[in-house]
Amino acid sequence: MPKILLEAQDIHVNYGAIQALAGFSLKLMENEIVSVIGANGAGKSTFMNALMGMVKVSKGDIFLDGYPLSSKNYKVVRSGLALVPEGRRVFAPLTVEENLRIGAFTRKETADLQEDYDWVFSLFPILKERLNQYAGTLSGGEQQMLAIARALMARPRVLLLDEPSLGLAPIIIREIFRELKRVNEQGVSILLVEQNARQALLLSHRAYVLQTGRLLKEGLSKDLLEDKDIKAAYLGQSA
């Protein structure tokens, strides 16, 4: 019986009068990859930000290992969640090396980060070549790799990714998703949010379909890939 790692129950988030999440629940097991798919404005980023303590949850609970998760952003990171935000958001005026170092901010001052650098370079070797370059000078794909590597430097138990495929060429997307699978095989649970439903469903074990702040459907990813409605609504146009 796999253990529940992260659980969100009945999450509500409002932006003024707009209700972005109206009672969404989700479970992530240890070592699992779960994806949340949904169209523009479905509330995917809002959900990620709610987990990270970046937006206020008006109702609902979040548990990690069965204990309530802090609503303070920096405490959430310390307890083992790391988000790769939508649009990558690398620190452009800092070097690649500095971006990775700030990713390790929550680690002990004395921690030896060499092993972590070796790990992220084994996933994305290009970063090693770009180490002293400013992050702003990297290509979009390289920036996404850096954003993922930066999150991994925190040694998270749950890696959260908000649309990592956004604006990238299919070949780069495949490379990144392949490395995410390797990250997961090394014991990191992954929660992935995507508009690119096909890629997300191919990578994940289970998936949730979010529609205007509510759950539309959930199930095994391989079943959803074959689901008639999902095919029509979400798999039609995506690569």
Partner: protein
């Protein structure tokens, strides 16, 4: 000709000395601006707190120079942190419009100024004679270099150097540089952003106090002394708000421009030149020498 040349050297020395004091103040402005994107006009108030703290530690409590200076830096740093907590944080939590912060900072400046008027009075004070070395060295052709010029230059170099080391060599320094780029994402790295902002205000307050003490020595101490920070603010704008090297370069340019004007044209023209420089800069290059282009900010 010889007279003119020695005047020139003399005014360059004076200009660098004044510019170094501006730099200490301007860097504090820029540091806060780089994180919160507003011009903190209470900075002048922090400076006045530093000046008075130093004055009272020296004269009333009879501490030595180093203890008094240290106490002044801490007092000003703490004032800055408290100001942020009481006046700015509640606003930051309600709105992302920085205009409100700007207005609040003007209010805080008036409050601090008037607290001193009410409590210690508006009269002009001087730090005791023997506080700092007062020697004057004659160079050649009548050019003189005073110990206080040397001291303010050396102090500015030391403090700005320390700031540079802090920003470039420490964990929190890196976090501050990351936050200057994107504060939300810095939070995602596990940085306690509330603490980081306090830290930035503390550092800015400390630097303001150093500037305040030097200004009290150069001129004198009175509740409105903080208004001199307008010059440092202009220096920061000319250098490019948010850029620390820009703040230093802008300050030196301003100090030199003021003193050369005073030496060759007339002392009354100083401010006219300063504001002309500001207007010209805003017309030609609104982002300042080292400022980020608007597109980079988004």
């Amino acid at each position: 000709m010889a007279f003119t040349f020695s005047t020139f050297i003399q005014q360059v020395i004076n200009g660098l000395s004044l510019g170094s004091v501006y730099a200490l103040i301007a860097v504090g402005y820029s540091l806060v601006y780089s994180i919160l994107l507003f011009s903190n006009f209470a900075h002048g108030g922090f400076l006045v707190v530093g000046g008075y703290a130093c004055y009272y530690l020296l004269t009333q409590w009879g501490y030595g120079v180093s203890v008094s200076m240290f106490g002044a830096l801490i007092a000003s740093g703490i004032t800055a942190v408290i100001t942020e907590r009481l006046a700015y944080k509640p606003i930051r939590e309600r709105t992302s419009l920085t205009l409100y912060l700007l207005i609040a900072s003007m209010g805080v400046n008036i409050i601090i100024e008037n607290l001193f008027v009410v409590t210690v009075g508006g009269r002009i004070r001087a730090l005791p004679q023997n506080t700092f070395p007062t020697g004057v060295f004659s160079l050649w052709g009548g050019v003189t270099l005073s110990a206080s010029d040397i001291l303010s230059l050396v102090t500015a170099v030391i403090f700005l150097g320390l700031l540079q080391v802090f920003l470039n060599r420490t964990r929190w320094g890196l976090a501050i540089r990351a936050a200057a780029c994107d504060i939300r994402t810095a939070g995602l790295m596990g940085v306690n952003v509330t603490f980081l902002i306090s830290l930035v205000f503390f550092v800015a307050g400390v630097l303001a106090a150093v500037g305040g003490i030097f200004l009290s020595v150069r001129y004198s101490l009175y509740p409105q002394l903080g208004s001199i920070t307008t010059k440092a603010f202009i220096a920061a704008v000319i250098g490019g708000l948010g850029s620390l090297p820009g703040a230093v370069v802008g300050s030196l340019i301003l100090g030199l421009a003021e003193m050369l004007t005073a030496g060759f044209i007339s002392s009354q023209m100083r401010d006219l030149v300063v504001y002309s420089l500001l207007v010209i800069m805003l017309l030609i290059r609104p982002a300042g020498f080292f400022g980020k282009e608007i597109s980079e900010k988004i």
